[in-house]
Symmetry: C2
């Protein structure tokens, strides 16, 4: 099996580069046709790999790629989930090479989606090819690869509710997370949830001359800044009433366990070139990015942003604001609390609109399940080390829904690195990680089938 | 003279429309050629009106139009100042007709620059034509029409310093301000100064995934909002140390005089469609926009501002911030105070850059001068009412420099209305105001010449 991967590794890489050349940005409607092209690409490659069937399932938005390979209905089934859509690539000027013209440098593939999630999805397509070519697929497999993960997976949620029979399986396998380091493999046991909103603050009914009106009329940018600033106190606690009510506090022992993960604050600051870290008082950096909820402004705009100066008192100011949630917070409840609070703190001199975007629930995955054990053994066999269980700060909103609708737990077996800069300019994915993933996935299938029999 | 204006009013209007069709946006370098075209237009029209000579004086930036008509060196000389450049037109989507395709509706000309300052400048060109055609020019006149007023007049300042002989005159006449209403003419006796800066807050060295880093790494947008919010206290006093040190406080009597100007808070709120006014505690709306300094964010941008959502923790956030100044504040001193304070309040988790843009000094003009009396009589004769002296909130940075370098006071005889929406979408200028201005200016010359003799 390793031989097969080795023989075909150049083709495996080139096929991924072809996929990365398709700008499948789901958030921006002008890429609609390209998003579909990426779905079509995955569908065809699943068939080439040997799937019994693969189809595009239409939704109100971008299509879902569904495929399956059944070797024996009496054997367990693994449902592989991933996404072929990518984050927008801007700010383009910070990319060293065009985001959709992948280049290989220092053993890494640079392109938007290289890691998140095209690279990690395509490992599963090539793992299927490898298992079928080497006759080592020990159970059934289904693929559900969506095109709206970066915009909230709303239509996947509907698809899952309507196709419970089709999606019947024993476990869901997802590669959309990171390991701690190539010499320190890990398995993700928790993800944060998300509430994402857009706010608009309107002052006067038109842009005004800041000399003629400045000082007497509320400036929506100043007001928006004041409102945003008021959302955190001096200790960086979030001030929205009820925000922390459902937050699951970890025991001292659990926190001590977490603290064992290798982490260097100096390297962390150096790698990001920051003079200091910044976060909620009373928690470590690893805790702040995993077991604690957050509030970040993801975008802000208003007034004159062009070259030179314009003395305008603008009519409107806008911001995109998201909150990462932890067990047992609920996305809808937090979204409502934010909306209610934000509207309540607006002065009478402005009007405020709050528009909820997508959200997702936090998840914790069990470490004692057959699937987790199989993933752990797969890493041990391929990497020579038992993977460390770790909570991650990102969100895969759909994982909680899988559990609710399909009653299935997910195994979060990702192969990325924090330094892959996903969602950032110059996103990359290590060729070592890509090929090692293609090697590790079949081992998961092997151990999962074996442990399931036992 | 009135007959002449009446006979030629259609042509006077059409010539202004031609000038308004030239997008002379000085802040944006891509309009450089258009800005020059506007200068060329003014030069040609001055010659057609009968000026002895008119030229484009080159500067490091946009050219200055200089022209003159000398009837007798022994007579006094009036130096007319104005500007042919305009503010950027965005947000374009809010214009009811294209900003550089002027239309006449309800007796108003709609276009960027209709009032500020092309319309008001062109009144002087047509007033010159009228006086020469009717043989009523009673003294000498010089024109200095610049193309960088909207970006700080830096090059005009250099031009003035280097051409004191050429610019010799008894008074400077400027039409770049407003009257209270068409049934309530006024003369501007004071202008606010300006400090304008651009700030950049940098957090991590690249855009980050808000899930992987959110909560532990300073978000430059959140930090920028907190820094901006901290620049004012709960009473909307500006918190920059030393900011108010030089502010000239008015006496109770002066404030009582100001309070006599007609003003309806209800109409003010209705016209702007705001639920409430918003400003410094302890001062009226008219005071807030004239005798009190301000701090407004004119533009802000950072992170993802496109369609949909992106869960990014951005590397940078920026804002354009300006402060209106009152006597006896100094632009350079306030700019330094801001810079020093803003840098001092930045947390160690971010880096801050503060870049000063242009500034200008506040001015107060005397009401007892021959020139002011002449302007007052001109209004009285043309409008049938003695104009009310009033302080204005806007800035004409160059006025203070004229006094310093040329030792000349300015008369601020503007004919615009607050409702002309200068610097805003759908800027307009009333045809009544345009023609009435062309009628009033020659009367200023008449009374100024007469009073100067006396």
């Amino acid at each position: 099996m390793q031989d097969y991967i080795h023989q075909h590794k150049d083709r495996f890489i080139n096929e991924l580069l072809d996929l990365l050349r398709i700008p499948s940005v789901s958030a921006d409607s002008k890429y609609k046709a390209e998003v579909r092209k990426a779905a079509e690409f995955i569908r065809e490659q699943l068939l080439k790999a040997g799937a019994d069937q693969a189809e595009l399932c239409e939704t109100a938005g971008h299509p879902i790629v569904y495929g399956e390979k059944t070797i024996n209905p009496s054997l367990p089934t693994v449902l592989v989930y991933g996404h072929y859509d990518v984050q927008p690539a801007d700010p383009l000027e910070l990319w060293h090479s065009p985001p959709f013209e992948p280049v290989i440098k220092d053993e890494k593939i640079y392109a938007r989606g290289a890691c998140d999630d095209k690279g990690q999805v395509y490992m599963h397509v090539k793992a299927l090819e490898t298992m079928l070519a080497t006759n080592t697929l020990p159970c059934n497999v289904k693929f559900m690869i969506e095109g709206e993960e970066e915009v909230g997976s709303d239509n996947l949620g509907i698809f899952v509710k309507n196709n419970k029979e089709k999606l019947k399986a024993e476990v869901i396998l997802i590669s959309d997370t990171n390991i701690i380091a190539n010499d320190c493999p890990s398995l993700t046991t928790g993800l944060r949830g998300l509430s994402y909103l857009e706010v608009e603050v309107t002052g006067p009914n038109r842009d005004l001359h800041s000399g003629m009106y400045g000082g007497a009329v509320a400036n929506p940018i100043n007001i928006l800044c004041e409102m945003i600033a008021s959302l955190k106190d001096a200790n960086n606690h979030i001030t929205i009433p009820g925000f922390y009510d459902d937050v699951q506090e970890l025991s001292e022992q659990e926190r001590a366990e977490m603290a064992k993960a290798p982490f260097s604050l100096e390297e962390y600051k150096k790698e990001l070139n920051i003079g200091d870290i910044h976060g909620e008082k009373g928690y470590t950096t690893l805790e702040r990015v995993s077991i604690r909820p957050t509030l970040d402004v993801n975008g802000i705009w208003g007034g004159y942003t062009g070259e030179g100066s314009k003395t305008v008192l603008p009519s409107k100011a806008n911001a995109k604001i998201s909150m990462r949630l932890v067990p047992n917070q609920h996305s809808h409840k937090i979204t409502e609390l934010f909306q209610k609070h934000f509207e309540s703190i607006a002065p009478k001199s402005v009007r405020v609109k709050v528009k909820p975007h997508h959200g997702g629930e936090p998840v914790v995955t069990p470490v004692d399940s057959v699937a987790y054990q199989a993933a752990s053994k797969a890493f041990e066999e391929a990497w020579g080390k038992v993977p460390i269980p770790k909570r991650e700060g990102g969100s895969i909103p759909i994982v909680a829904l899988f559990e609710k609708e399909l009653g299935l737990k997910s195994v979060l077996m990702g192969f990325g690195l924090d330094s892959d800069a996903i969602h950032s300019p110059n996103e990359s994915y290590g060729i070592f990680n890509y090929l090692k993933g293609i090697e590790t996935i079949p081992l998961f299938f092997k151990h999962f089938a074996a442990l399931s029999k036992a």
